[in-house]
Amino acid sequence: MTPTPRITKAYFNAFYALMTTYRAEIFFWVIATTLPLIMMGIWVQAGASGAFEGFGSVDAARYFIGVFIFRQLTICWVIYEFEYDVVSGRLSSMLLHPVNPLWRYILLHAGEQFTRLPFSILFIGLSLFIFPEALWGSGEQPGTWLPQGWRVLLALACGYLAFLLRFFISYTISMLAFWIERVSALENLNYMPYLFLSGLVVPIQTLPPALQEVILWTPYPYILWFPAQLIAAPPEAMPAELIARGLLTIVGWITLFAILQQALWRRGLRHYSAMGA
């Protein structure tokens, strides 16, 4: 059963309340996810050296601030949550509710995202304070950072699609918890390509075109690079056909992983022994 707006609201309220009890932990967790801001420092220097054509220090700063924003939105820990729920038997009480636990996990993340929001804004403000050229431009790269309104809205929508994409990749792997006791060990198989192909460490546009083309067929650049580019890159760097391709690819990957997840879910439930319950 899919949740009604009332169920969605009730879950969200409960999980937001739950996450606010961990606000100190979340603050430190936000600090732990500031890799894009560290990468910003490195790439601003690289951009200033002129080593990458069309990717100056201001571009680098705007790009990595965008990556930081969408990284905050796409944090996903469902594999650890689901593994614990299966191994401890906590999944049993969720299975007795007439709502698919999938929604519970999604809304648990939504509650956490909302709790994380003020801390994220704080870090974005801090980054702009440290590197104000990202906002106002520099001598080499003049111009205020003011993306078009529709691009911002599209980037936000893509950000949530990116979250769903990352969620369904992780949740699909999580389903193996029905057969493997420590499924979180497999998260590394997902994390390594995520780290290098999502644009978290290396902006995709700085890679050789042939490699870019290959990477753009994988799901990973659509988690960070694509939404970050929508707000950070100049309009000519993100033409309509690239945006359309990006949107179709995100939706395609989400659909594929959702179908795979549901198939594994059905098979997994037959295998579930409700351990510890």
């Binding site: 169920i7 309220n13 409960a14 739950l18 009890t21 509710h97 007439p98 579930y272 319950a277």
Partner: protein
């Protein structure tokens, strides 16, 4: 239509089989060995609407696995199961809205939040109007003696308070079938009594069917006119609570208040010694030999008082599980 019906319900688990020690660990890492355990063997069970049934058996007998199959958490290996006309493992919302499972060692409420937050979620999930849900919470809270506990974080509650809140959460949607697995586990006597009378009242008011497992015989004697006994996955007995005593306790207890202590060697001649503590002794005597034994005791010993009773139900069940001799003698 029965509330619960199973026919030949069977569950076989495949479990890893590892020898202890370093060599066993290396062998197990290279080549896994498994063996099959038949946790439930061809169980036939019918429970009518409104019936309260005690489900008894020693640890590992198959009680919890049976409950898991009845609630749809675990798929049966063989056999048929129907709860309110549904196959539970299909997990249809229509069925899930009419059943509940309470596990004494598990919780469904969110640990770091007050129970009320979880109750709001349950009200939404089960589609109970907010006003009606709060009315039900109020009624249940009064019956169970809950008040401020509902607005304190679950982790701050005592075990008894937590279990009471779990019951409110589990019954908020007024389920027609209750599966209760050790609901009074670890509770003090007052909390146990409160939970029992709450369940009794719920059963009377809602005409709900209850299948209850408990190691506290007081739960069974207070709530269950009918008991089902399971041992090593197979049903041993299905009938009235009194019938358990009749069937599995062919012995009666003879309590003697003696004028002076008597040695075990002497008491042994009249029956099996259950206790011999100073001037008080308790003997277990076969029913058919009771008249003869009592006559001889009165004739041969200096007895101040003598009473004959059935042994406590706890002892009967304990003996039944210890002996394991009656395996397969299911009474329809």
């Amino acid at each position: 239509m029965p509330a619960i019906r199973t026919q030949g319900l069977t569950k076989t688990y495949r479990v890893a089989d590892k020898k202890p020690g370093f060599v066993g660990t290396v062998k197990h890492f290279i080549k896994r060995r498994h063996r099959e355990i038949q946790a439930v063997k061809a169980v036939d069970l019918t429970i009518e609407p409104g019936e309260v049934v005690g489900f008894l058996g020693p640890n590992g007998a198959g009680k919890t696995t049976t409950l898991k199959m009845l609630t749809g958490l675990v798929h049966p290996t063989a056999g048929a199961v129907s709860v309110l006309g549904h196959e539970p493992f299909k997990r249809k919302a229509e069925l899930l809205k009419q059943i509940t499972l309470v596990m004494g060692n598990k919780q469904q409420m969110i640990w770091d939040l007050p129970p009320m937050d979880s109750l709001h979620v349950n009200a939404a999930v089960y589609g109970i109007e907010e006003k009606e849900a709060m009315r039900r919470v109020e009624v249940f809270a009064e019956l169970l003696g809950l008040d401020e506990e509902l607005t304190q974080p679950v982790r701050k509650l005592s075990l008894g308070q937590r279990m009471k809140c779990e019951l409110v959460a589990a019954l908020l949607h007024h389920p027609k079938v209750l599966f209760l697995d050790e609901p009074t586990l670890g509770l003090d006597l007052n909390a146990q009594t409160a939970v029992r009378s709450f369940l009794k009242q719920y059963n009377e008011e809602q005409q709900a069917s209850i299948l209850l497992t408990s190691h506290y015989m007081a739960d069974i004697t207070a709530l269950c006119p009918r008991v089902v006994v399971i041992h090593e996955g197979a049903l041993l007995y299905d009938g009235s609570l009194e019938g358990v005593v009749q069937r599995f306790a062919p012995l009666r207890e003879v309590k003697l208040d003696l004028a002076a202590p008597v040695e075990d060697a002497v008491l042994n001649r009249f029956g099996e010694i259950e206790a011999n503590e100073g001037r008080v002794a308790r003997l277990l005597v076969q029913r058919e030999a009771l008249t003869d034994a009592v006559g001889r005791v009165l004739a041969e010993l200096d007895v101040e008082d003598l009473t004959v009773t059935d042994p406590p139900i706890e002892d009967v069940i304990a003996r039944l599980f210890d002996s394991g001799n009656n395996k397969g003698e299911t009474t329809p």
